[in-house]
Symmetry: C2
Subunit: 349 residues, 2 copies
């Protein structure tokens, strides 16, 4: 028999199954609302974080990225892939997992699935941004692109902003049908539409979340009326955008971290000094968000490591007192730290 | 009850306990010898790999690093920390875990502890380098610094080169005693020595693996005789070196990946264009390794991502047909990839 691992060797691991249990334990909307609050708190202390563009490994089929950050006490990183062709083979376009570690010791303290958690944090970030950028009293949103992110976006906007009506469009009607089915019973009124143009009618918030890896034009300039807030999720890597550049020219653009967004976001279409506002400056009140009811605001969202940090620390807090995790022995921790080999040897006995 | 996760959602996880079982199943020396061969194979196809310096997050107490690489088919990364003060608190200076993923889909295929595996791959890399750089027929090695890496180094040199005698020195005699105890029964003749000077007497290979994060001088120039091979392991991050620069000036220096070694290795003491030879060029026969019996060779080892890649793919191969792993459900993989929310909803039922 092997000796039991020392307590320091064990870290909580949240499987997909346990993440789903945790989400239902809290409630999807409550989870999204609380998470939006945690993300906003971390945007308020933006200066405390190490910020570095993600480390990307590109291939013909997609990209694998590592997204690290730290607030000086806790370190986090996320592993995430983006493979648009995966869907055709029955696989997720985006899968992810993530980790928290103590900066002072380098010891991991949490490992968790982040495919679901990324969907939740992306939606929570969108809703947090929309709280600052959309018109007051917005009740209707359009959702162009009804894939894996769609329902999370709708519920986050409902939970955080009080959105009541969702208008859907996808080039594949089956995706829209799936979203309608999944949102039945959510309290939202949901309408499938025959075109993007139809979907955005009357919408104060337009969310684009399509997945093609190409320069696409999901929205053109003449479609976008005064006063809307555009939440652009799908343009999130080099060579992948969703909006015509003329829309950008009419809108005020808000971003997470300019050095990353200029490479990955909608603004990759624009000059390197194209003016943008950093969202954390709006959140802290340094810069105004929406100025008037005619302004078109654009959140050019690509997803940033600090949002994952927030999501991980939220999960870590909410795990306390639950059993929604397994302990896995991932750290070799011999009694005498210099005696790694002795630990190995004793395991043979 | 939840639905069972789909097979694609499950990946093998090798805990510390299972890694120890795997190592004993294969045998420590056979593991080191086979692994040295796999690392050498990957050095032979050096050009096939993405190479990037590791992504480091430095703090007052240490560093947390991510080390990614890819050969175009398989992607790997390692999480590893280096916290010299950990030992004083009963923690490992270095802990690590790692992952393999398919480049074509981005899906992880293996997650494993790498604290033990890093110790094994570091020793296997040292032995592989020494096979090309040490004098033929070397039988005696000195080991300065008798911490967590010591026994692995001794056994790798025995397994790969046929080293018979090991001479130990550490500023803490308890560390030397621990190493003597652990190597009893290994077939090596082991001698504890009262000083570095005494330890290196008659040694054809000198391995330095001390852990202080500072510019230290474990070896000075007058101590090093003609013909030795120096395997410098401990100088592996900015501000941490072990050798006096005069030794470097008398030696021919071999490195893993110059852009990283110039920042982290012994040669951080030298000018940015200080001449070095890349080990892969020796392994492939492009450049000679040791030229004569008087030459002093120095392997300025800092550890490179490709060695971890090799170790991970070796473990993956050797796991086949064993039960030295658990399956963990870390990837959310709904039947319809666009229906992530539906999967979450069905889990509530």
């Amino acid at each position: 028999m092997l000796q039991a691992p020392s307590p320091k060797a064990l870290i909580p691991f949240v499987s997909v199954e346990n993440m789903m249990r945790l989400v239902h334990h809290i409630g999807v909307e409550a989870f999204l609302e609380e998470l939006a609050g945690v993300i906003e708190d971390d945007f308020r202390r933006w200066g405390a974080f190490d910020k570095t563009p993600r480390v990307a490994s590109h291939s013909r089929e997609g990209v694998i990225e590592l997204m690290p950050t730290s607030d000086g006490e806790i370190y986090s990183f996320k592993y995430v892939n983006g493979h648009p062709k995966n869907m055709a083979h029955g696989l997720q376009t985006v899968t992810a997992f993530g980790l928290l570690a103590e900066v002072s010791t380098g010891y991991p303290v949490l490992l968790t699935e982040m495919t679901l958690l990324t969907a939740l944090r992306t939606a929570a970030t969108s809703a947090m941004a929309a709280r600052h950028l959309a018109r007051n009293g917005a009740r209707t949103m359009a959702l162009i692109g009804n894939g894996a992110q769609a329902e999370f976006q709708a519920l986050a906007m409902k939970a955080v902003l009080g959105i009541e009506h969702v208008r859907l469009y996808d080039i594949d009607p089956a995706a829209t049908e799936k979203t309608i089915r999944n949102l039945a019973g959510s309290g939202l009124s949901v309408t499938g539409c025959p075109s993007s143009q139809a979907a955005i009618e009357g919408a104060e918030i337009i969310t684009t979340c399509t997945a093609d890896k190409q320069f696409a034009t999901i929205l053109t300039d003449n479609m976008v009326g005064a006063g809307v807030h555009i939440n652009a999720i799908g343009g999130d890597c080099p060579g992948k955008t969703e909006l015509h550049r003329d829309i950008l020219l009419r809108a005020d653009t808000f971003v997470e971290y300019p050095p990353q967004t200029r490479i990955e976001g909608e603004i990759q279409q624009m000059a390197p000094d194209y003016p943008v506002t950093e969202l954390w400056q709006v959140v802290t009140g340094l810069t105004p968000g929406r100025r008037d009811d005619r302004q078109i605001t654009l959140f050019d969202s690509v997803g940033f490591a600090i949002e994952d940090f927030s999501a991980l620390r939220y999960v870590r807090e909410r795990l306390r007192g639950t059993d929604f995790f397994q302990e896995i022995d991932i750290i070799a921790d011999p009694d005498d730290p210099r005696d790694l080999f002795g630990m190995l040897q004793r395991a043979r006995a």
